[in-house]
């Protein structure tokens, strides 16, 4: 049952072949068995999960069920969930039991889905390896010597190891797509503004976007249909006409124009990744697509631009953590300023402090124009590059990451090497355009490789179609390490 797709689970539940309580119990068992090794979950609460399953079983019995009713979903520990410990991977929130539900959590609850647990993540979503979590590193289930990627590393691990049928993630510079690639699963960051940020603990507000992580594109479509929707409590939520993300899944790909950015294929990609990408493109040509070279001349500057804008926004967002209203407060201090200082110094980990310092500096007097405004101008040039490219192609493809998963500890002492693992992913956050990763094979040490599929604004249904058609003729998405 734990290898089943969401659609298969939905049918089994509807036909009463299994109850949500049985399904939830099975996944709770798997978590109990495997989580001590993988550390994918920070919090599991059997009582709440099983109570939700009971409600779902009633919905199923009375014909009020939707496609996700009764299905367990792992929630990234960045989403506030009422009554659940919500830590964001930080000591700062290690005692924070949320008094309210995030918009995303509300939508899953309304759909009758089960919260199967809160997944581990890099502290405040700052990291690409899940090694900055206060709650310890997560292992890659394909190879426990490897990182699962980050920041949604617990979510990627949970789906890959079949500890949950699907999961939520958030993506500020690649945090859904990079761990999806490194763990051999599918994940999509939708167009900025489609998924509510209400109750999703803020890292860099103009870049943060929630999205689903699952085994296949078909599963992602079902999840996105629940996650997308206007929320007046998020000031950047878009009032976009509702669209069924699964509507185009079956469309043939004949005539599809795939753009291959020459900058992404120039250098930096390892040989195993390059050859897997080439094989995936061969499949797409067989499906009737044609490939053309496009150029994104400013895209290589995504990383420096990102490391100005994201820390700037983070330093502002994280100023709220002061030990007054919620979360951690230092046990001893001399006065108010000292309380702030001790609380923040003890409550934040090294990477979070580093980014707060970068952000504080680039926003400080005398440096604002040289760094912050400069980065915002380049952000526009990067967005224009993509807009130009989409005049010549329907979709852009390339590698999600330059290499397969690196070893635990390999890059944790070198922030710049860590930052460069998001070299292909951060542009989509700067532009706000949707992007996804799907598994396309295995490379060095038999570790998974992801194909990055980037689309223009609001092209989620088309991107899922493109991914699904590939998954109909290949079986990489069905491979599992268990």
């Amino acid at each position: 049952m734990f290898n089943a797709s969401l659609k298969q689970l939905s049918i089994q539940l509807a036909e009463k072949k299994i109850s949500s309580t049985e399904l939830t119990t099975e996944f709770l068992q798997r978590i109990k068995q495997f989580n001590p090794e993988y550390n994918a979950f920070i919090t599991v609460n059997e009582e709440i999960s099983l109570a939700q399953a009971k409600v779902a079983d009633k919905m199923l019995a009375t014909g009020q069920a939707g496609p996700l009713t009764g299905i367990p979903i792992a929630q990234k520990d960045i989403f506030c969930a009422r009554g659940w410990l919500t830590t964001c991977g930080s000591k700062m929130l290690s005692n924070f039991v949320s008094p309210y539900d995030a918009g995303v959590i509300e939508r899953f609850n309304q759909a009758g889905a089960i919260n199967i647990g809160k997944t581990n993540m890099d502290e405040f979503a700052m990291g690409s390896s899940n090694e900055t979590s206060y709650f310890g590193m997560v292992k890659n289930p394909w190879d426990i010597a490897a990182v699962p990627g980050g920041s949604s590393g617990g979510a990627a691990c949970a789906v890959a190891a079949r500890l949950a049928p699907a999961a939520t993630g958030t993506d500020t510079g690649g945090s859904i797509r990079q761990p999806a690639a490194l763990c051999g699963i599918s994940g999509i960051k939708p167009t900025y503004g489609l998924v509510s940020r209400y109750g999703m603990i803020a890292f860099a507000s103009s870049l943060d976007q929630g999205g689903p992580m699952a085994k296949s594109a078909e599963d992602l479509a079902l999840l996105l249909n629940v996650m997308i929707g206007f929320d007046p409590r998020d000031s950047t939520s878009l009032q976009h006409d509702a669209e069924d993300c699964a509507q185009d899944l079956q469309k043939p790909l004949a005539g599809l124009r795939i753009g291959l950015p020459k900058e992404y294929f120039a250098e930096g990609m390892s040989q195993d990744v390059a050859s897997a990408i080439e094989k995936a493109l061969v499949e797409y040509r067989k499906l009737g697509a044609q490939t053309i070279e496009v150029s994104l001349p400013n895209a290589p500057l995504s990383i420096p631009v990102y490391y100005v804008l994201a820390p700037a926004e983070a330093s502002s967002n994280l100023s709220r953590f002061d030990g007054v209203r919620y979360g951690y407060r230092a046990p001893a201090y001399s006065d108010l300023a000292d309380m702030y200082r001790k609380t923040r110094t003890q409550g934040f980990g090294a990477e979070v402090k580093r980014r707060i310092l970068i952000g504080t500096y680039v926003l400080s007097h005398g440096y604002y124009d040289a760094y912050y405004i400069k980065a915002q101008k380049l952000r526009r040039l990067i967005a224009q590059d993509f807009t130009e490219a989409y005049k010549r192609c329907d979709i852009i493809m390339g590698p999600t990451t330059p290499t397969v998963a690196f070893n635990l500890g390999e890059k944790s002492g070198d922030p710049i090497q860590m930052y460069l693992s998001d070299i292909y992913t951060s542009a989509a956050n700067l532009t706000g355009m949707p992007a996804m990763s799907i598994p396309i094979g295995f490379g060095d040490k038999n570790r998974p490789i992801g194909l990055h599929i980037m689309g223009n604004y609001f092209k989620e249904a088309q991107m899922l179609n493109i991914a699904h058609q590939y998954q109909l003729v290949t079986d990489w998405h069905l491979k599992s390490p268990v």
Partner: protein, 95 residues
Amino acid sequence: MTLSVSDVKRIADLAYIEINDNEVKETLNQLSGIFDLIETMQAVDTSTVEPMSHAQSVVQRLREDEVTEADQHGLYQSIAPQVEADLYLVPQVIE
């Protein structure tokens, strides 16, 4: 540009983060490396480009100025580090 030890101490002070003398050198080295990476932005001429602050050019939504939330201070204060008489307690600021 070159960061100095005093720059690091100044920004740490602004951010309410303590960096002790043992850590300051290491922090300086790491931040300097990151700023070397950031400096590569300066190679592109952006003199005629408008800054882009946001992915979507949407206007700020407004709403009627009316109460929409119920009073839940008991719930919210139940998770605060220190509360007394419905007030958040902090160290004394005014003598």
